[in-house]
């Protein structure tokens, strides 16, 4: 049986790491994920885990050391945020291209400039095409649960691909919440033992890791890699079910909150989903058929499943916690619109950017989104395809 604890999202990630007790963690401090390697270092200092902690001199070296350790045959984890994640960027492609099931906790944060240490999704969305599995958590409980599941997903024989479990910087990373910490032994049993496929340290069978592939070969390797990433979808479902059996909290590819009969649907990821659920409940009490589709698995993007889940919607608002940066909308918006293109019921889809650099997104802002959706359905007209929440000055 687990026990109720009052700990932050970062502490949740650190406890998951303690229980997983990976062979190697290589990490560099960066706000807001710094408390993760700090807590890990303390666990090691107290003899509660025996991981080799490599306190590297940069995030680039953090991911490089993770890759070296994973190729060597170790189970490997790390944590980062924002600019640190960006500094890893080159190595993120290399980790996935070399098929090393490294698992990373990301306390998602805004990227400079201007410098800002607070929560948004600029980092993980910037790295969405690095070939990593991306799970996004709503709260501390999910940060903990997703990190544990990420190990099983990443290491699955059909997948063997690195995975990250993200949670919002500060909103979750630094918020104390009450959640269930499971038994050490139960977690250990759930994740099982790890055997690397091609360990470098097996000197009897020397392996070459990281050869370069000329045009004759590169394409085949990248598509082979993509297959592994795509295989993660079914594995995420299976591991989510198994997790439910083991710990009573089942996970799917996404979470449908009062979605079945919803006319007005918000699609979002991360901690704003909790705030949105409160708003949905409130609207439902007032007879408004509001619903939420919470993204959990962002990469690989389960477009078919999500399009199916959105069939009842009469109008959809997608919330992106990142600037569209010149695209037609935010990355989540583009995925959703694209997924719906092949379905018969193409509800109008609008896009909001919200919460950049830790800007507060309150129930009243979410409420305004549902009001806009209602207006779209009532009038049949979309006035603004793209807008911002809680931005000073009207956008456009």
């Amino acid at each position: 049986m687990g026990k109720k604890v009052a700990l932050t999202g970062n502490e949740a990630a650190a406890h998951a790491m303690r229980q997983i007790n990976p062979d190697v963690i290589a990490a560099f401090p960066i706000t807001p994920s710094t408390p993760v390697p700090q807590a890990v270092a303390q666990f090691i200092a107290d003899g509660e885990m025996d991981t080799e902690l490599v306190t590297v001199e940069s995030e680039h070296s953090a991911m490089s050391a993770c890759i070296g350790a994973a190729a060597a045959g170790a189970r490997v984890m790390t944590a980062t945020s924002a600019n640190g994640y960006a500094l890893m960027w080159e190595m993120l492609y290399i980790a996935s291209g070399m098929r090393l099931p490294i698992v990373m906790a990301v306390a998602a944060r805004a990227l400079s400039a201007p410098l800002n240490i607070h929560g948004d999704h600029s980092d993980i969305m910037g790295g969405r095409d690095t070939g990593w599995i991306q799970l996004i958590s709503e709260n501390s409980q999910e940060a903990y649960d997703n990190l544990i599941q990420a190990i099983k997903i990443a290491e699955n024989e059909k997948v063997i691909t690195p995975a990250l479990a993200a949670f919002d910087g500060f909103n979750v990373s630094h918020a104390i919440e009450i959640w269930e910490l499971e038994d050490d032994a139960a977690v250990k049993e759930f994740i099982g033992k790890y055997e690397a496929k091609f360990p470098l340290l097996n000197t009897d069978d020397p392996i070459t890791h990281g050869a370069w592939a000329p045009p004759d070969w590169y394409f085949e390797h990248k598509m082979n890699q993509l297959k592994g990433l795509l295989n993660a979808k079914d594995v995420v479902t299976q591991v989510g079910k198994d997790f439910g059996k083991a710990f009573g909290r089942e996970y799917g590819l996404y979470e449908a909150y009062k979605l079945d009969d919803a006319d007005f649907v918000v699609v979002a990821a991360g901690s704003v989903c909790g705030t949105t659920k409160d708003v949905v409940d409130n609207l439902r009490e007032n007879g408004v058929k509001a619903g939420l589709l919470k993204i959990r698995l962002f990469r690989p993007f389960p477009f078919k499943d999500i399009a199916d889940a959105l069939q009842s919607a009469k109008a959809i608002a997608v919330l992106d916690r990142v600037s569209p940066s010149g695209a037609q909308g935010g990355p989540l918006f583009n995925e959703i619109r694209s997924a719906l293109y092949d379905t018969d019921t193409r509800a109008p889809v609008i896009n909001y950017t919200y919460g950049l650099g830790g800007r507060d997104t309150q129930p009243r802002h979410i409420n305004s989104v549902y009001e806009t959706l209602k207006k779209i359905v009532d009038t049949g007209k979309v006035e603004k395809q793209f807008d911002c929440l809680n931005l000073r000055g009207a956008w456009g």
Binding site: S64, A69, A71, G210
Partner: protein
């Protein structure tokens, strides 16, 4: 040191079929390194930085490596090997790895003096066991001979070309050994493949250290430096005999010079056979050779003085 006949019987860590230029000394150095490693006592695992050596020896689906080998990127051979070494410690502790393993990283000057300096410094400071070998070919040769901070004064490269108003690289090369000395590691050395016995001695010593060690090796580049492919070893020897490339060790901070030429040759002897220095011999450029000689002399004198003073960081 064993006879070459004995060493020649050993299984080679690096085999033929690689795509290095004819006369390239990258592989010569690596072969000497493997010949020196006491593989009856330990196994070797190698990490490589992106560069000529890496692209030529790990071109899918071929590998020239007979030992476990990993390449990840240009600037991080040191951090990659530190991850491998951390995994070794972890798995050894858990009994999953039983053998004794020593770690070697190969990089060139680009991946060491420049883009890889931070990762190298970090890995050394953390104290991982690895021998870092810098095959110093004085420029970014893999991308076509662009200047690096290891390019010597006056050297013409594709980004420090000799021209109508410029004479090649205007700055002296970075003294990487001195940079690394600040880490107070147990063993640093400079070697040349021309002096194979000396190089092998150094490799053997370095691999005996349970911590980070570094050997800076001159790697004459027939293509980038501009000399015939059969002259590579001769050029290396001239670098040693002119004291352009002193053979020395820094053992726990104490300088030991391994070779003092009976007759120190003038730098012209080293510069002349190389196309990259050809412009220095044009009329009116004599002052550049004088400056080159001055820089070499100053460094050599400084090394001699340091050897003489014999101070170590550590108590012996």
């Amino acid at each position: 040191m064993a006879l070459l006949n004995d060493l020649a019987k050993k299984k080679e860590g690096l085999v033929s079929g690689h795509r290095l230029c004819p006369g390239c000394t990258h592989s010569v150095i690596a072969r000497q390194v493997f010949a020196a490693a006491e593989t009856d006592k330990y196994d070797i695992v190698v990490a490589a930085a992106t560069g000529c050596f890496e692209v030529s020896t790990g071109l899918y689906p071929y590998t020239s490596w007979n030992v476990p080998w990993i390449h990840t990127a240009f600037e991080n051979a040191a951090s990659t090997i530190s991850g491998v070494e951390a995994a070794y410690k972890a798995l050894k502790k858990k009994g999953k790895v039983k053998k004794d393993i020593r770690f070697i990283a190969f990089a060139s000057d680009g991946g060491t003096y420049d883009i890889g300096l931070q990762a190298l410094s970090g890995a050394i400071e953390r104290g991982h066991q690895f021998l870092y070998i810098c095959n110093d070919n004085n420029a970014y040769q893999n991308t076509g001979n662009q200047r690096s901070s290891a390019t010597p004064f006056g050297g013409s490269t594709t980004t420090s070309p000799n021209g109508k108003v410029k004479f090649g690289k205007e700055q002296p090369r970075k003294d990487i050994v001195s940079v690394l000395e600040g880490h107070h590691m147990e063993y640093i050395a400079q070697a040349s493949p021309s002096n194979w016995r000396d190089l092998m001695n150094k490799v053997k010593k370095a691999l005996d250290v349970d911590g980070p060690t570094y050997i800076n090796v001159i790697e004459p580049c027939t293509t980038g430096w501009g000399f015939p492919s059969n002259k590579a070893i001769e050029i290396a020897q001239l670098a040693v005999d002119t004291c352009v490339w002193p053979l020395y060790e820094v053992i726990k901070g104490k300088v030991v010079i391994n070779y003092k030429p009976k007759k120190k040759l003038p730098v012209e002897e080293y510069l002349k056979p190389q196309r990259r220095f050809a412009h220095l011999f044009k009329k009116g450029n004599e002052y550049l050779i004088e400056e080159f000689q001055k820089q070499v002399d100053r460094h050599w004198e400084w090394l001699l003085k340091r050897e003489e003073c014999g101070i170590s960081y550590f108590e012996d």
